[in-house]
Symmetry: C2
Subunit: 411 residues, 2 copies
């Protein structure tokens, strides 16, 4: 008996934590409940009920099916549902009319064939990428409405009236959804995407700092808080697999009207490009990270030689990233960024110089330690870390360029 | 006038190409059309129609909404729809009964509050990860059915009968979907996942071969077919972002019964681990690839020195990957693989040896070319490429281990 109670208890505990961590999700639940409550008034108030009749059911259904957590998704589904119902309804009425003219024997045959053909074609069209990203739900509603209207036309005499009522109840449902989703604590897909990109940029900067610091860390300078840096270092991992989420959100953001600091034609597609650049940076940090965890480590004297320039470089580059975070947050072109990029390029130059000076200072020791050939191998590993590091910077400046483009498009 | 026709023409052309490239998708369209045709017979045949009454509409709706392209997705939706409807229906009947007992004034208030609370809670539960992956659709159906039954109970007297009819029409719709999706050209999510993993393994092997070959390519040995290798080299890119698709498919595969060579409890979760390992390999190849495209290239004499061992290593490792492809295809433990992994480890040893021998043979030239310090820099770049290459191999053997586990679980 104790088992199921424990499972339910854990489930409720998880749910509570989720609600505390992201109150927006709990608010969304309340919004859906509220819309359903309002829609169900149609059943209780006589005059309204008599207006739309038993079809008030469709309003309830529309609210349940159409209400999504972001404004963009709700608008997209509302549009799809209305257009899909309208198109399919008029087409079905046309087919019904033709079937009526052709006599009672042919009527079911014509309707059956048209249902079969249109349902097959519409289902197939849902696989076409351009339809799938925007009109997937509309195609489903098209099939649903067409088959319902075409098939039930054989029974229901007052077909035209029914189609009209269905459309009006859907209109009631969708407009209610749109009002509630946009008025009470709206959750915008666009803001979500923006925040996600900013947060990922911050995580990248932290990871870069953390990884390079960890690589050149002295055992003496170990700090008390052990867990914190490793957690910060792993931040880049959520950038690696962000592509799918970003694409979905950018798609939904395009349906949204102007809100907050974002105009109607905010360049959401640029965010995808920034995302791609960030993923490339994250791949580089992944390579850096595998150098840290590698069994073969560079000898200490080499690390000491390169530590200062490398730390400078990584500090400069994460500063560029952090300046980008600020620029993204305020949606302005930062004036400091050119300066910071200049400093970063200078640091790149310094690292290259000190790499070039390596043979001078280390050929001596290398020759004298030929008996320990492992060192050469270890040297390679440090050198691995540095070029990977250097690859990060052209990418960081690429991100910069993209954001500049975005800022310009905004005017 | 020409514009829209061109757009439609291009759309149809794309659709035709998609159908030719993936006939499964066209077949899925035909299957949906067929199911709708069969379901619409319920309207035409008097005895069947009199059995379920006007609620035959729900059967049509069920087919349209539940029929997904893979068997796993269809089964998952059928299960969710049936359980969701049943639970919500019985709960709504209970609430209705309580509301009936408490007098006419309180009835709408009790029903309204219960709709509000349950809809909010169920909507919120859709955000909880464990619910989201498996019962997202069920939660939506729960809200829908509960509000429809609870609200319409105020009007419709024959509530119990209606609930019964709804359940039976849904049973008709779901069983029809299950039969058609599993009998005519079934598209299994599990087989899809398996094929995708195998295909990605092949692409990884090709990319590895291609990248290393490209890096050590002499300008003399340039082949006639230029485009082909670069296309092969880019194959790893589709592995980078495969995570979301793999997770969805593994989730759906768990709903599927035994089919083809896969048992009921086929370890689909192992495929996710294989996917993760492959993504790590792909990150390494990405690092390799950026070495190829880097502006600073290693000097030719260094490349020549390392070419043979590196080519051997990459050949051995891509052979291991190809052997894994064969092992995955036949679902057996390969006997050759231990031998191949032994050879690969030997090749790793050889690369390490020749790296260690570098200081001996090149300190001479390095001292003499101190006037050209760029060379040292270039040397670093080659050395970058090799450790990245070496990191690929522990991962390849990790993949091997995982597949072994999978093969063992199958018995």
């Amino acid at each position: 008996l104790c088992g199921p109670i424990l499972i339910i208890w854990r489930f409720l505990y998880k749910a509570w934590n989720l609600g505390v961590a992201e109150p927006k999700k709990a608010i969304h639940g309340v919004k859906v409940g509220l819309s359903l409550l309002i829609v169900s008034f149609f059943y209780y108030m006589r005059p309204l009920y008599d207006g739309v009749g038993g079809n008030a059911m469709w309003a309830v259904m529309t609210v349940v099916v159409v209400f999504e957590s972001t404004v963009g998704a709700t608008l997209c589904k509302c549009f799809n549902r209305t257009i899909g119902t309208f198109l399919a309804g008029s087409l079905a009425l046309g087919v019904q009319w033709i079937a009526d003219k052709s006599g009672e024997t042919f009527q079911p045959i014509i309707i059956g064939i048209s249902v079969f053909l249109l349902a097959s074609a519409a289902t197939f069209s849902r696989f076409i990428p351009s339809v799938k990203t925007r009109f997937d739900y509309g195609a489903m509603i098209f099939i649903l409405t067409f088959s319902l209207v075409a098939v039930s036309g054989y029974r229901v005499e007052r077909l035209f009236e029914m189609a009209h009522q269905r459309l009006s109840t859907i209109a009631i449902g969708t407009s209610l959804c749109i009002v509630i989703t946009m008025v009470f604590c709206p959750i915008w897909a666009g803001s979500g995407l923006h925040d996600m990109i900013v947060c990922n940029l911050e995580k990248l900067a932290d990871s870069l700092d953390g990884c390079v610091g960890e690589y050149f860390k002295d055992d003496k300078t170990k700090l008390g808080n052990e867990e914190d840096p490793s957690k910060r270092m792993q931040g880049y991992k959520c950038v690696l697999n962000s592509k799918a989420t970003e694409e979905v959100m950018a798609n939904l953001a395009r349906w949204e009207p102007a809100h907050g600091r974002f105009n109607f034609r905010h360049p959401w597609k640029q965010y995808l490009k920034i995302g791609t650049s960030m993923r490339k940076c994250a791949y580089c940090i992944e390579a850096l990270n595998s150098c840290i965890n590698s069994e073969i480590q560079a000898p200490d004297y080499l690390k000491k030689h390169l530590r200062d320039v490398c730390m400078l470089l990584s500090n400069n580059s994460s500063e560029v990233l952090k300046e980008l975070v600020i620029a993204m947050k305020t949606l302005t072109k930062s004036s400091k960024i050119d300066l910071l990029i200049g400093e970063m390029n200078l640091a790149v130059q310094k690292v290259q110089d000190s790499l070039n000076s390596l043979p001078n200072s280390f050929i001596g020791p290398a020759v004298s330690t030929l008996q320990a050939p492992n060192d050469a191998n270890k040297e390679t590993i440090t050198k691995t870390a540095i070029p990977s590091l250097m690859e990060v910077f052209p990418l960081a400046s690429l991100v910069y360029l993209l954001i500049e483009i975005a800022a310009r498009t905004e005017g």
